[in-house]
Symmetry: C2
Subunit: 336 residues, 2 copies
DNA sequence: CGATATCAAGATATCGATATCATTACATTT
DNA sequence: AAATGTAATGATATCGATATCTTGATATCG
């Protein structure tokens, strides 16, 4: 048998500890700790001296030790709904935008962001977190309950629902539905269609706002149920309308892709956008701006949403009272 | 003065420790540790008994304590180039896809993913990591050097470069340039144009592959320098060609948006795609499939790229020899 | 001048898990 | 039967930082 050579992990960084620094500076560990922490309990001179020493030797704080002592991880786990091979969510730019805001806010508050997919949310990583942020359209009751049982401060992105009581941050989907309805009414549309998935909580609220506002004017929109949010789905939706000889003059689509698909189909049918039919999409994707004709759409403020999610978890961790909050959306009226 | 009520952070979870479990089970701490770690040093029965007890009481391992003792954080920091307000990267779907693969692989190896933006990469979080993964097209020498100085195992996504020696994982940009050139040659195109930013390392390699392959057939493509990767930029590029009365019959654009813009401009100019001009984009974005005409493009395998990035850091952390690696891309030929 | 207040710094205990070495109980060998 | 081996478990020290309680030195006061 050949002698199996054991691989030596590099991990154990020989880095200095506070004790080492203390010896170097001729003070005690605790003084080093205080100096590095800018505590007022040390003279400015010793503080400077020790900080300089730390810099010089490239001292690295051992975060684990600190967290252990403080009984906090200073870490928030972000659970993203990422199905390994699914096309949609992985590609969807929105979680990344939210992540941007979240990361910004958390790191500037001295917290770290632990990224996790829903599938492996049971792992040790999440156990270490001080708080939880849940992202992803598919987050349903069961998942939320699962995490809830971890007893951690938790904030969810999405639609507010009556029968559960966790903190939610999201776009004001209802209001966006109202806005689109108002817009359609103001330009004299009387036969609007809604394209989207009413089983999806966020979309359902858009639908509600849309329906309610129109109802106030005696109008009942047509609901065109569409599970996919692809361009093809939008095309198919309009074709189905045409084949059923439905009369309509406005479309509120729950995604820009749906909207663009719808417009393409309309053009194919010889209809003019926006003369014959008005179309409003959702999300303000980059493609929409340069679409022909430029797409009217509803814009969500994801950056701010992320920041808000972060603030709420932090507040929860801090034991402060926190309420759910819906962010206003803006209707971007372009050419459609 | 009213007595300032001090807010009480909830953080300090009263959770059980191994010592508590040990008392409950009538064994020593270390036996609990071994039982939970499936060590062969405890009888199957005691292991079962203790694990059941842990489950029953919802025992949560204190990761900080463990990491402290093991002198490892079991954490890899992912540094994403996210400029707070920039439009591009934040929206760009690709980092998320990479993140998907990374997260999958790392968590299944028992590691956590620490998400960081480049800006706050100096924070304590990163110091805690066992390894580093750098994402983002704008990662340049200075940044890499900065992180290099942390002395951590590091892997970078992007283009391989001669004059630095860190591990790189990326798409084989050069080969993709060659493939597109081959395609153009095979369909008899003799006057190709390259649209992109030659200062961008990854794009530069696409250009090199493209140029080299064409040179073998005595053809020298025209380079159209474009810093923006937007649709408008694509439109402008083609218009500039037209106004200069350049003759061309093929376009290799470095992003799908550029390609779509180019096609739009071509159509406006009364040229037919692909009859008069062939166009190939890059990235295989969802919009490309349903573009009219469906866009030919180069697809990168991001999921796998993420997995590979993760594997390489893990190997580095483990002290194994690791080499850079470029992933093959695939040319998706559709209608353009 | 003695007593107390104030300030800087140190000693010690502690957070929760695990590596290492020691111990016990029982089985096997000669 | 004594000696050796083996398997299961335990005792202790340790990872590196910080909270808490002291200590010593200097300043301030009546």
């Amino acid at each position: 048998m050949s002698p199996a050579k054991k691989k030596q992990p590099v991990a154990a960084q020989a880095g200095l500890t506070m004790a080492d620094l203390a010896k170097l500076a001729g003070v005690s560990k605790i003084t080093v700790s205080r100096a590095l922490g800018d505590s007022p309990l040390v003279t400015p001179e010793t503080r400077e001296r020790i900080q300089a020493l730390a810099r010089k030797h490239g001292y690295k704080l051992n975060v684990s030790a600190r967290n252990l002592r403080l009984r906090r991880s200073h870490t928030v786990a972000v659970i993203v709904e990422m199905k390994p091979s699914s096309s949609r969510t992985m590609w969807d730019p929105y979680p990344l935008s939210l992540l941007g805001g979240i990361t910004q806010e958390l790191t500037s508050a001295g917290y770290s962001v632990l990224l996790t997919t829903r599938h492996d949310a049971a792992n040790a990583a999440v156990q270490a977190a001080d708080g939880l942020i849940l992202l992803g359209q598919g987050v349903h009751q069961d998942a939320v309950k699962l995490y809830d049982r971890m007893g951690l401060p938790m904030v969810v992105w999405g639609a507010e629902s009556d029968h559960d009581n966790h903190i939610v941050v999201g776009s004001d989907n209802r209001q966006s539905g109202v806005s689109v309805a108002e817009r359609f009414l103001s330009i004299g549309r009387r036969h609007p269609v809604f394209i989207g998935n009413s089983d999806h909580p966020e979309m359902a609220q858009r639908l509600h706002g849309f329906v309610d506002e129109l109802a106030g004017h005696g109008i009942k929109p047509l609901l065109l149920q569409r599970v996919d949010w692809t361009l093809e789905s939008g095309v198919a939706a309009v074709h189905s309308l045409a084949s059923r000889k439905v009369h309509f003059d406005a479309i509120f689509a729950c995604s820009d892709l749906l909207a663009m698909g719808a417009i393409r189909a309309l053009v194919e049918l010889g209809l003019s956008v926006p003369n014959d039919v008005s179309v409003v999409g959702y999300d303000d994707t980059p493609h929409g701006v340069s679409f022909l004709p430029p797409l009217s759409t509803v814009r969500q403020n994801w950056q701010e949403g992320g920041v808000l999610l972060a603030r709420k978890v932090l507040a929860l961790i801090d034991g402060q009272p926190v309420a759910s909050q819906m962010l206003p959306t803006s209707l971007i009226v372009r050419a459609t």
